[in-house]
Point group: C2
């Protein structure tokens, strides 16, 4: 394992971002996976509906930039578990609005509180100013807002 090159992989932003994203998601993933039997897209859909209320699969896909087939399957799984219900838009019958059931809302509330705790644990190592800079830069990189 001898040095042969001066390119620094850990300074290459896409790589570094992926490493940070994976590592920082790990413990949270454990929880929604092991404790709630959910996949990544599923908790994301759950959270979107929990936060924004009724919205369509298309809306969620646009916001998360997740492909519609993944959304479709996540929605089907959440519906099967009675976490959400669908409602046809009568003026445009292609659309269906999704909203959480009581059970879905309860699960969202639980996971949300896990997320809040987890986030404050993650961010505890940094100052408020640093976090402001970090979030702004990440949002720019993610093309959010």
């Amino acid at each position: 394992m001898t040095q042969k090159d001066d390119f620094q992989l850990q300074d290459f932003l896409p790589y570094l971002l992926n490493q940070a994203a994976e590592e920082s998601s790990l413990a949270f993933q454990q929880i929604y996976k092991d404790r709630y039997g959910m996949l990544r897209t599923e908790w994301r859909v759950l959270f979107h509906l929990g936060i924004y209320g009724e919205m369509s699969a298309k809306d969620i896909g646009t916001r998360t930039k997740v492909h519609k087939t993944k959304i479709s399957r996540a929605v089907a799984k959440l519906e099967e578990r009675r976490f959400l219900t669908r409602r046809r838009d009568e003026s445009d019958r292609r659309l269906e609005y999704l909203s959480l059931t009581k059970a879905g809302l309860a699960t969202y509330a639980e996971l949300r509180s896990v997320a809040v705790d987890y986030d404050s644990q993650l961010t505890s190592k940094f100052s408020h100013e640093e976090l402001t800079v970090l979030r702004r830069m990440l949002r720019m990189l993610a093309h959010i807002d």
Copy 2:
């Protein structure tokens, strides 16, 4: 789509990091995938060998935190394409050292230059100071160094 909650998904660090990581990897992924027919783990292995020279699959797995089955399959694919060769460690015959062939090195050099260009394009929106802060924070989150 009515507001129902004040939890901000785009401030939840694991989510924000994943969005930034995915978006910032997209165009680079297009290149190694479409132009070089590679998978994520494959370019990572290629880069590790290009940067550090000869190393074992285990070493790569430790550094990248990628599971050994994924490494094993990426190595097999790269070997099949004659980008690397294996050499048994005679003092511990479980280990094999991987190193790039001439063709592997050439491909690495090409992709490396793409990566350098791509990175400077990504980082051009930020100041040197901001980038220093960002990298330091990401390394802490990724538990690198």
